[in-house]
Amino acid sequence: MLSGYAPILFFFGICAAFAVLAQFLNAALGPKRPSPTKDLPYESGIVPRESARRRFSVSFYVTAMLFIIFDVESIFLFPWATIVRELKVFGIVEMGIFIATLLVGLLYVWRKGALRWD
């Protein structure tokens, strides 16, 4: 069955070559006229103040953590979904408990205000 992935590997090589070549050709063909002003990051026309590497809103971290929890849930759901026909009621009850647990978790997070952006 693994042989099915050999064409993907081959196509991956083509994609990687394209992605590298496009940048390389541009670097080779384009003009190079550097100047101190061009080296500055864009900041609406004023000279940049401070570095851009600074602290940002905690909501982004919370979103990332919640994403991991629910993404793992969806990974469990995919194999279950393919055999739900054979599992019949047993599968429904088991997955129902699993989904309900996570739904309670989502409601808790919701009520706690972790999904609020302000």
Binding site: A6, I14, T63, L106, W117
Partner: protein
């Protein structure tokens, strides 16, 4: 038994055709976007390069190769280059398993897709989610405030809507009982899954707009507040690769929607003269209709505010997706 799919030169031709198809699709999608938006706004759109502006994409593409790369001096040298390449490369790679149809020639089964794997759906979900890295790396490596904010916003948005996408697709997996895209299309013979899973289709197509950073969810590059978001500091072909990734992702999400909900290569009605038209043509036609809808929506709806966007993903799409899974699963299990 050695079929035509096992010959190396057949694979080579298929890869070549697919790359040329995707690059052409990208080029003419940009032209279609500009032409359709012009018509919606009562303008003509590009009409100078070639008849009806048909050569405009070629002129644009060539121009990108001959432009200077302007980059901030304090960038992260390596990550800055990885971002655009990952965006373009991953978008191309995801298309390898999209099922275009099968033909039976002289007793040999011929697949139109490059690779036929039994977890095709998971492969596509995995590869398309690499796009998150490209946007965030690009935004972070530029060392510019607008880029960083754009990169943060887009990564938070993409991962939030990725779950909505997976939950919407699980309903289809339950019905067909397989992650194999060809099997999923085959099990829609007679009745397309959009009829059985209308909610899942709406959820998927809505989340697809967010996954491809299109209006009304194009917050990562909201011009009025973030200049250009994560690709503010990119120019020439590096910007072109991000642009290419975005448009090819549009083709990919529309192809997934076609394969999973609209019957893939199956004809509209299963009898003459409809079944006379080859499968890949049907597939392409359905993809084009969905692409037109995506462009149409972009030039019709205004942009959402960021908190509303995140709330919509977490508090509307996700619970609806879970409910859809439970109901679909219960019905299928009890009727089996």
């Amino acid at each position: 038994m050695i079929g035509p799919d096992d010959l190396w030169w057949v694979l080579l031709i298929k890869c070549g055709v697919l790359v040329v198809f995707l690059l052409t699709a990208f080029a003419y999608l940009t032209l279609a976007e500009r032409k359709i938006s012009a018509r919606i706004q009562l303008r003509y759109g590009p009409n100078r390069v070639g008849p009806f502006g048909m050569l405009q994409p070629a002129a644009d593409g060539l121009k990108l190769f001959f432009k200077e790369n302007v980059a901030p001096a304090e960038r992260d040298k390596i990550l800055y280059l990885v971002g655009p390449s990952l965006a373009g490369g991953a978008a191309l790679l995801a298309y390898a398993v999209i099922p275009w149809g099968t033909n039976n020639w002289f007793g040999h089964v011929f697949h139109w897709d490059i690779a036929h794997v039994n977890v095709g759906l998971l492969f596509i979900l995995g590869v398309t989610s690499l796009g998150v890295y490209s946007l965030f790396l690009g935004g972070f490596a530029s060392n510019s405030k607008y880029s960083l904010l754009g990169g943060l916003r887009s990564s938070a948005q993409l991962i939030s809507y990725e779950m909505a996408v997976s939950f919407a697709l699980i309903g289809v997996v339950i019905l067909s009982g397989s992650l194999d895209l060809e099997h999923i299309v085959g099990s829609q013979q007679g009745l397309w899954f959009i009829v059985l899973q209308p909610l899942a289709f709406i959820l998927y197509f809505t989340a697809a707009f967010a996954e491809t950073n299109r209006l009304p969810f194009d917050l990562p590059e909201a011009e009025t507040e973030l200049i250009a978001g994560y690709h503010t500091e990119y120019s020439a072909m590096r910007f072109g690769l991000y642009f290419l990734g975005e448009y090819i992702n549009m083709v990919t999400v529309c192809s997934i929607a076609t394969a999973l909900f609209l019957g893939g290569w199956l004809p509209l009605l299963p009898f003459h003269p409809f079944d006379w038209i080859p499968g890949p043509i049907w597939f392409l036609g359905k993809v084009l209709v969905l692409l037109f809808v995506m462009i149409w929506v972009r030039w019709t709806l205004p942009r959402l505010r960021y908190d509303r966007l995140m709330n919509f993903g977490w508090k509307v799409l996700m619970p609806l997706g879970l409910i859809n899974i439970v109901v679909t699963g219960a019905v299928v299990a009890l009727r089996a």
